[in-house]
Symmetry: C2
Subunit: 432 residues, 2 copies
């Protein structure tokens, strides 16, 4: 290779006879309360959803586990004993990270302040010695409103301040930040590849970002925002194929499916009015569902149900009888199993990437009217569940899965849909 | 919408009842010989391949058409008459661009120096008045070797210097650059969204880049480089399905297919040795071809042939007889025609995007062993042919299509493969 080629796609592409891609570490940089952990977890969630073994190593957790909760003076750089203690903790996390990357791990995110050139040089040297590439991800935030919101939303509630009144916690945390500010040095161009995220993505500076995955991470980060809003995942109303137990196909809604969809429409309108984005697949059952919803919608081919290939239109009983090998292969590994001439869950995740980007980017609430396998994959992303679990995630018909992103995760609530009461006129027609 | 939402995907997503996305202009900024036209054309090629109506408006061409070739003194900002003449030419291009965006155009690239704040303010004001969003794309190049190479490779050969000895042209062009340098002002944060590309992507600064397409363009630009290398597009050797005239399927190579592939192997090894990347689809016929090539290779699902859905494994005669409506629909619009439960050419382009990114990023030569429809789509990208032409691009079996990217385009050469002479031993076995 004419240049280091950072982690080529693993799931989409099978490589035969090629050298394995190098291991990669994203090392966070920034003052406390600059959203480092938010970014670290988002990157980790995205990459592990894409199929890379990814883990975050948070130095704060190591410190709390090894040294307990600490007063702001612990972070004073003039206090030499504490400087050594903090350095030891940071190195313990780094050692664990390198052990992880020396084993099954593909990508690690080193979530620490790394606020001095000296500390970053140490991180780079250790990583390079093990053949691990390093990309610094620096979060700079000059918008004091955002910093303040972050302190109150995450720091004052951190285990460091359990039982401490909020105002005391906030005061102590501000002093902690001041200690770091006194010695903070921005990442320079002589420190290798970096991504600087300024004021939550208002501005971004990239330096020597050329690898496959770092470029994807930049694209991913460009879509992030911190404005709260809901995402609803809901399957189309029951289709006539659901009634028959057939998979795939392009069947219309059943009467029961229509009835429950009227309930969805009522709840959605009550909740959002018309300020909501509605997305469907290109299949009839999701489009009919959106039509009953009565709001403008957008149909994505990427949201189409998993392609059952040669098994399309069959029941599982028929597959077991007519294609027993396929039935067994699917049972043995539902995540990687690919229907003959069709798709696997892994394939579905690959093609859902643009949907994830749009989902992150959208600032209005979104209702995704989808299909079981596709919604499982989206749910796994939102809830940071291992992709391998996708085939067993419960996404029943006639249920709204409401997800609300929080600082470091996502809250979930489920609403069951009830069939609409019969329209008397329609009832008369039916019996008449 | 809570924020302007720049051009949502058009080809993947059908929007029902949604407002059309706003029009978008990328306005180049930079001194002469900083690769503005290279970047402008790359962006235009990429976006029009994705299905957006995109056009470049190059002010240099307007100037030459309206005012003819000019000596460097024409670009001296102290020469007031010329300043007015140049401004008029720039405004004529801008007017045409706005007329284009007021009509069928989705995206325009305004390829001019736009080197002063005043000029950029004028561009923004005119665009905003028409509801067009503006993203400045500034190319800054401090690496004099690159600037020098660019002057010699493109400027000294431009129509401005036809018949002028190279050294005279280079000298005049350097003086032209000096005139622009005297008044050049970098784009500032108060000028709205921008992408700064520094030293051909070594560094990049992004400001307020949040829209769907600007974020994709950033990701695209991160993959670009200017190192010359070849890309070979070649279909798998003839398969047994090709012999029978059947489409789709997953058939092995025929004997003739194997024989020609030995010729491919001989030519490829003679040309590249082992310094070449080999990519295949996940289908048997491309993998068998790569195995005969005898080099490590990478199999992409994104390179699989167009999915013929319900028509998979049929001959066109059978489709005409058994599914006459499908046959007619395909004939009427081969580009947008989607096989029942399968794909259209438009769908194929969408899923090929990651391949295009990797193709741009790769610095070694690449041999893509693919299929007819998929290679047509890649060829359309490389040669900047309208995507609608894809279904009629000739990509025969047993032919190497060699493409060599140049400054503003791509050179093409085709090599026919001959079957390998029969191996006498194998011949004896066959008759024995």
């Amino acid at each position: 290779m004419s240049q280091p080629d950072t982690l080529k796609p693993t799931s989409d592409a099978t490589s035969l006879g090629l050298a394995p891609p190098p291991k990669l570490a994203f090392a966070m940089v920034g003052l406390p309360a600059r959203g480092k952990t938010f970014i670290a977890r988002k990157i980790a969630r995205y990459l592990s959803w894409l199929g890379h073994s990814t883990r975050v190593f948070n130095v704060g957790s190591y410190r709390r586990a090894q040294l307990g909760r600490q007063h702001h003076s612990f972070f004073d750089p003039r206090n030499e004993a504490y400087v050594v203690a903090r350095r030891d903790v940071a190195l313990a996390a780094l050692d664990d990270m390198l052990a992880y990357l020396g084993g099954n791990g593909d990508i690690a995110i080193y979530d620490a302040t790394n606020s001095t050139r000296e500390r970053r040089a140490l991180v780079r040297t250790r990583c390079f010695a093990q053949g691990v590439e390093v990309v610094f991800v620096e979060s700079i935030c000059n918008d004091q409103t955002i910093v303040e919101t972050n302190i109150r939303a995450t720091k004052a509630r951190s285990p460091d301040y359990e039982g401490v009144p909020e105002e005391d916690a906030v005061r102590d945390f501000r002093l902690r930040i001041a200690h770091y500010e006194s010695e903070y040095e921005e990442v320079g161009e002589d420190e290798g590849p970096f991504i600087k995220v300024i004021d939550v993505g208002r501005k971004m500076t990239l330096h020597r970002i050329q690898g496959y995955l770092p470029a994807r991470v930049v694209h991913f980060l460009l879509n992030l925002h911190i404005q709260p809003r809901s995402v609803w995942l809901t399957r189309h109303g029951e289709s006539t194929f659901n009634v028959l137990g057939r998979i795939g196909g392009d069947a219309p809604l059943s009467d029961a499916g229509r009835a429950c969809t009227h309930d969805l429409a009522r709840i959605a309108r009550g909740r959002f009015g018309s300020r909501v984005q509605v997305w469907t697949s290109t299949l009839r059952r999701t489009i009919e569902t959106a039509e009953i919803l009565g709001l403008p919608f957008r149909s994505w081919r990427a949201l189409d149900e998993i392609d059952a290939g040669a098994c399309d239109g069959m029941t599982y009983a028929e597959i077991a009888e007519e294609m027993p090998h396929e039935f067994e292969a699917r049972k043995a590994d539902k995540f990687r199993y690919r229907y003959p001439r069709g798709e696997s869950y892994q394939d579905v995740i690959q093609r859902l990437e643009p949907v994830i980007f749009e989902l992150e980017r959208e600032r209005e609430p979104v209702i995704v009217i989808g299909h079981q396998a596709v919604l499982r994959a989206l749910y796994a992303y939102m809830m940071d569940r291992p992709p391998r679990e996708c085939p067993t995630i419960s996404i029943p018909l006639h249920t709204i899965v409401e997800l609300e992103p929080t600082a470091y995760g996502c809250d979930e609530r489920r609403i069951d849909l009830a069939p609409a009461p019969l329209d008397p006129k329609r009832f008369r027609q039916n019996v008449g």
